[in-house]
Structure formats: structure tokens, C-alpha cells
């Protein structure tokens, strides 16, 4: 058992543990913190797969921006995990949902174990890895040449999301036209002089 395997096992266990605790928590703040734990463990897996740039992006953008946005909304709504969340849906019981998800995982694992991956060797043994694999330069070169149009469309999507979020959260009762100033002596005085 070499160092690579130990790092992989610890990170994978932490990622799965964080995800499990996230859905098991009642308090949304703890839930966000466990998701951050899971994401940092996944970033370690990214780095182990030589995706250095995306590992950094995952920590900076995901843990640093998106999950902080979640925390901000949770604190804005003042959720403490003590809200009345009802008893859940009756038609499909909780056990049936677990069984359904477990069967789904088993099915995917069967595909992985019996599919076309079985004949493949270890990662890095199949093909020769380039020395700058996963660096900013190689990813950016591909992003700005082959995938230029999807990249630009992603920018438009982000703009649409910003506008949509602002429009949706605007207070409907609020009058957003600028205030009209009437009978202001300072505005009237130059006209009177003319």
C-alpha cells in the first residue's frame, strides 16, 4: 500500500462521509460545512488525477463562492434547523427511497465492474502522461480554441443568471422609478431668471 493509495482512500472516505453527513443533518449550516469538507476531499482527488487547475478552481469557486452564497442565504432566512418541516410524503415511504437509491448505485457499480473498464490497467499506465497535463496553460489553450463558442455561451448564461436572480428577488411592492422632485426652489430659480 503506497502513498498514492493511502491518499486516495482517505480522500474518498472523507468525500463520502461529508456527503452522507450533509444529507443527514437537520441544521442547514452544518450541512453546508459538511459539503465543504466533501468538496475539499474531492479537490484532493482532482489533484491526484493531475487536474491541478480544476482542483484550485473547485476550492476557490465552489467552497469559496457558491457555498458561501448558500451560507449567506441560510443566515438571511435565519434557519436554525428547528423549523417545522412536516412528516414527508406519504405515497412513497422513506425506506422505498433508500432501496431505490441503493439499487441505482448497485446498478452503476455493476456497469463499472463488468463494463469496458475491466480490461484497462491503472491510470497512467494506459497512455503516456504529458508533463504539463492539467496545467492552466493546456486547459486554457483548449478552452480558447476548440471550445471557444461554448465558453462564450457560458458567459451569456452567467449574465442571464445574474439578471434572473436580481429580477426574481426584487421586492414586488417596491416602486423602482426614480423619485420625481417637484416644487424644488433650486430647480425653479434658474428658469425664473431666464
Amino acid at each position: 500500500m503506497n502513498l498514492d493509495t493511502i491518499i486516495f482512500v482517505v480522500s474518498a472516505a472523507l468525500a463520502v462521509f461529508g456527503g452522507t453527513m450533509m444529507i443527514a443533518q437537520r441544521n442547514p449550516v452544518l450541512s453546508v460545512l459538511y459539503l465543504i469538507l466533501s468538496l475539499v476531499a474531492q479537490a484532493v482527488l482532482y489533484v491526484q488525477l493531475s487536474a491541478l487547475f480544476l482542483g484550485a478552481v473547485l476550492i476557490i469557486v465552489y467552497s469559496g463562492a457558491i457555498l458561501v452564497l448558500f451560507l449567506f442565504v441560510i443566515m438571511l432566512l435565519n434557519l436554525r434547523g428547528t423549523e417545522d418541516l412536516g412528516t414527508g410524503s406519504r405515497p412513497v415511504s422513506r425506506t422505498a427511497k433508500f432501496i431505490l437509491a441503493f439499487l441505482f448505485v448497485v446498478e452503476l457499480v455493476m456497469v463499472v465492474r463488468t463494463g469496458f473498464f475491466r480490461g484497462q490497467g491503472e491510470i497512467g499506465m494506459m497512455t503516456v502522461q504529458a508533463p504539463d497535463f492539467g496545467s492552466v496553460k493546456t486547459v486554457a489553450t483548449l478552452l480558447f480554441t476548440k471550445y471557444l463558442y461554448p465558453f462564450e455561451l457560458a458567459g451569456i448564461l452567467l449574465l442571464a443568471a445574474i439578471v434572473g436572480a436580481v429580477v426574481m428577488t426584487r421586492n414586488p411592492g417596491e416602486d423602482d422609478s426614480p423619485p420625481v422632485v417637484t416644487n424644488s426652489p433650486r430647480d425653479n430659480s434658474p428658469k425664473g431668471n431666464e
Partner: protein, 100 residues
């Protein structure tokens, strides 16, 4: 080195946890976070395949998925705030205006 199938196994388990979270959570914010976990599981699989096949296309896809996750989080949380303003709750079962 670790097998490709080990990474795919982790991605599958994370996706399954996200599926369970979407189905059982009654708090709409935790439901959103489960969706984010499923997106990240797909990202892990993309990066593992990209590394195994020694191409960078998977990295670009992961980059675009991260962009979409950010947009989704912004719009989704805006919807949560609007719903909370109207309904005073985050219980997912109370958001049934379209079924009535």
C-alpha cells in the same frame, strides 16, 4: 497508482448519496446542496476519464459544469428567497401551488 474504476466507484457513490438527498430531504436548501453534490460526482468521473484517456476535453467540460452550477445556485437561491418571502417556510412539501 489507483485504478480508474476506483475513482468511478467514488463518483458513483457520491452520485447515489446526492440522489438519496434529493429524495429524502424536506428542506429546500439541503435539496439544492444534494444537486450540487451530484454535479460534483459527475465532475469527478469526467476528470478521471480525462486522465485515463490523456485528453484535456474532460477538464473543459468540468469547467463549464462549474459555471452552470454557479448559475444554478444563483437562480435557485433567488427562488428560495422569493418562496420564503411568500410562504414563510423552507418545507418542500408546502411549495405545491402548481398542484392546486
Amino acid at each position: 497508482m489507483v485504478n480508474l474504476s476506483a475513482y468511478i466507484l467514488v463518483a458513483v457513490v457520491l452520485f447515489g448519496i446526492g440522489t438519496v438527498g434529493v429524495m429524502i430531504s424536506r428542506n429546500v436548501i439541503i435539496l439544492f446542496m444534494s444537486v450540487e453534490l451530484m454535479l460534483n460526482a459527475a465532475n469527478l468521473a469526467l476528470i478521471a476519464f480525462s486522465r485515463a484517456l490523456n485528453v484535456h476535453d474532460g477538464h473543459v467540460f468540468v469547467f463549464l459544469v462549474l459555471t452552470i452550477a454557479a448559475a444554478e445556485a444563483a437562480v435557485g437561491l433567488a427562488m428560495v428567497i422569493t418562496l420564503y418571502r411568500n410562504r414563510e417556510t423552507v418545507n418542500i412539501d408546502r411549495f405545491d401551488m402548481l398542484k392546486r
